[in-house]
């Protein structure tokens, strides 16, 4: 197999006495979509924060395209090509939807004003938010904000996206649209790491699932295998 795009090796992260991540290791191959599963408090979001540079791990290393990124600040990690969404959307509330996306296009991707605005419009079009582009983010619904997060992430032209529960809060009817968007993201050659509680989304959107519980990896494999894995069932149902 070729060199993985992301390699997490032996990562441990403690918060005081609590060990949020315990010697966690896994790889993501280029163009792969990997799902990250685990019960509440398993450490999924913590792992995303560690990869994105918001937390420094206490030990272990993270490599992106072969380069160590463990000690880099978040904006540099974004420049290298990793972009993330937040479980609770973090919009720029006093900016319009378009400006929210322009921020990523200008700072993440380094585009000038006009090309950034063009790029942002195109991304909003793709996500299906072009009607809302002049609305202030504070006037948008939570669901729209979730999609806006996705648009912001794509505008920085990442190689790898970390998606934290993009489907949470969506209605049944909105899920196929999201799956369609995720397929488009993958067809752009973007590698995906997805945290998701909506099982149907997980099953359809990813090639492989990594399951963690109490900060440790307990299973890894194709979606079908994972659903039948004893340890996974135990972790979820006790």
């Amino acid at each position: 197999m070729s060199e993985p795009i992301l390699s997490v090796s032996g990562v441990t992260k403690r918060f005081g006495g609590l060990v949020a991540l315990r010697d966690l290791s896994f790889d993501i191959q280029r163009d792969e979509a990997v799902g990250l599963m685990g019960p509440n408090g398993a450490g999924k979001t913590t792992l995303l924060n560690v990869i994105a540079g918001e937390y420094k791990p206490d030990s272990g290393a993270i490599r992106f395209n072969g380069n160590f990124i463990t000690s880099l600040p978040p904006h540099k990690i974004c420049h290298l090509g990793i972009a993330r969404t937040y479980q609770i959307p973090q919009p720029f509330v006093n900016l319009t939807a378009l400006q929210n996306v322009v921020v990523a296009a200008r700072f993440g991707r380094g585009l000038g004003k006009a090309p950034a605005e063009k790029e942002a419009s195109e991304v909003l079009d793709m996500i299906g938010l072009s009607e809302k582009k002049d609305a202030l983010a504070k006037d948008l619904s939570t669901i729209t904000l979730k999609l806006l997060e996705l648009a912001r992430v794509l505008a920085s032209k990442p190689e790898l996206v970390l998606l934290d529960e993009v489907a949470a809060g969506l209605t049944e009817a909105e899920i196929p649209k999201l799956l369609d968007t995720l397929r488009k993201v993958r067809s752009m050659g973007i590698t995906v790491l997805l945290i998701e509680h909506v099982i149907s989304v997980m099953m359809q959107a990813v090639d492989r699932i990594v399951v963690i519980n109490e900060g440790m990896k307990i299973a890894e494999g194709a979606p079908k295998e994972i659903m039948e894995d004893k340890k996974v069932i135990e972790a979820y149902f006790g």
């Binding site: 994105a52 918001e54 904006h75 937040y86 900016l95």
Partner: protein
């Protein structure tokens, strides 16, 4: 339709012409025999406007609730003292004051930017206090202690008249307005707005949060310092107790909040009111600070978005704006 089209042209021309005419009128005020006291209040207006604009840049547009503008103003004032006591021209004191204030801002940015929100505010509130004690003890140009600590006259400004102070203040006031316009429409302004709304999301979108905040802080400090030095050229005297006084913060805060924080016009409207209040409350001394405080609280309770923010939400303004846009 025809009416609309005819309306559009004059309103747009007016929007361009009005500032030019206004500045020209303000500039000729001192040479057409305007009463001295008027000029004095206008002088204060421009100085305070500059400081309020820079405070708005930090607190309103960058999420930096900086409670220590007095530190920048006091340091710039003392830089002016050092420059003029060394027989250098006063304008070097203005530039030097700006540079020292900017350098000081860069210095305190390193520890204070680690704090966010209210912690940053409190951290910066104590800075002028600390500096005041430094200048109680340190006599930068020697000589006898006058009053409490390092009280000094500003030297070498004898030949300057109120007309010259006035023009200096007018110039920096206009510069501060244009600077705001330029910054807010630039990449820096966009990044600062993003940081203000969510520094996490800004950083993960590629914004170098520390660097952008530092740029804003240093620019604001330079301009605030220069305005402070201009103030002390007029005042002619500086002492630690007044230079590092919380009144400077009150002025910036009142002007910005009453007028409308996070609006470009807010500090202009707010400073007019603050200077008018100074005029009205001049004879009440310490009581005036209390009255200003009450006004601040009332504004924050009734119209937290300030006068400009409030007016913008009214129907009359919206229809006027639509008219101006030719719709």
């Amino acid at each position: 339709m025809d009416v609309d089209r005819n309306m559009k042209v004059p309103i747009n021309q007016l929007r361009l012409m009005l500032p030019v005419v206004l500045v020209a009128v303000l500039a000729i005020f001192p040479i057409i025999g305007t009463p001295r006291v008027w000029l004095l209040y206008l002088f204060l207006f421009f100085v305070y406007l500059t400081m309020a604009n820079m405070w708005n840049l930090l607190a309103g547009y960058s999420g930096l609730t900086f409670l220590g503008p007095a530190a920048l103003i006091g340091l710039a004032g003392y830089t002016l003292v050092i420059v003029t006591w060394n027989d250098l021209p006063f304008y070097l004191g203005i530039i030097g004051g700006g540079i020292v204030a900017a350098a000081f801002a860069a210095l305190i940015a390193v520890p204070t930017f680690r704090m966010r929100g209210i912690y940053f505010a409190i951290g910066t509130l104590v800075v002028p206090e600390a500096l005041r004690y430094v200048f109680y003890l340190w006599k930068p140009v020697g000589g006898e202690m006058q009053g409490g600590g390092a009280g000094y006259m500003i030297k070498g400004i004898g030949e300057l008249s109120l007309t010259e102070f006035y023009w200096l203040a007018l110039a920096i006031g206009i510069v501060s307005i244009f600077l705001m316009r330029i910054i807010l429409r630039s990449k820096l302004g966009l990044g600062l707005a993003a940081i203000r709304d969510s520094d996490r999301a800004a950083a993960s979108s590629g914004v170098d949060v520390f660097r952008l905040k530092l740029y804003a802080f240093v620019i604001a400090a330079f301009v605030t310092g220069a305005a402070g030095a201009i103030f002390y050229i007029y005042q002619g005297y500086i002492a630690p107790a007044s230079a590092f006084n919380i009144r400077w913060l009150m002025t910036c805060l009142l002007a910005t909040v009453i007028g409308g924080i996070r609006t470009e016009e807010g500090p202009i409207v707010g400073t007019i009111i603050v200077v008018f209040l100074h005029f009205l409350l001049a004879r009440y001394g310490a009581l005036s600070l209390l009255i200003q405080g009450v006004i601040l609280v009332v504004i924050m309770l009734l119209i937290p978005e300030g006068i400009v923010g409030f007016v913008r939400k009214t129907r009359a303004y919206r229809s006027l704006a639509a008219l101006a846009a030719g719709r």
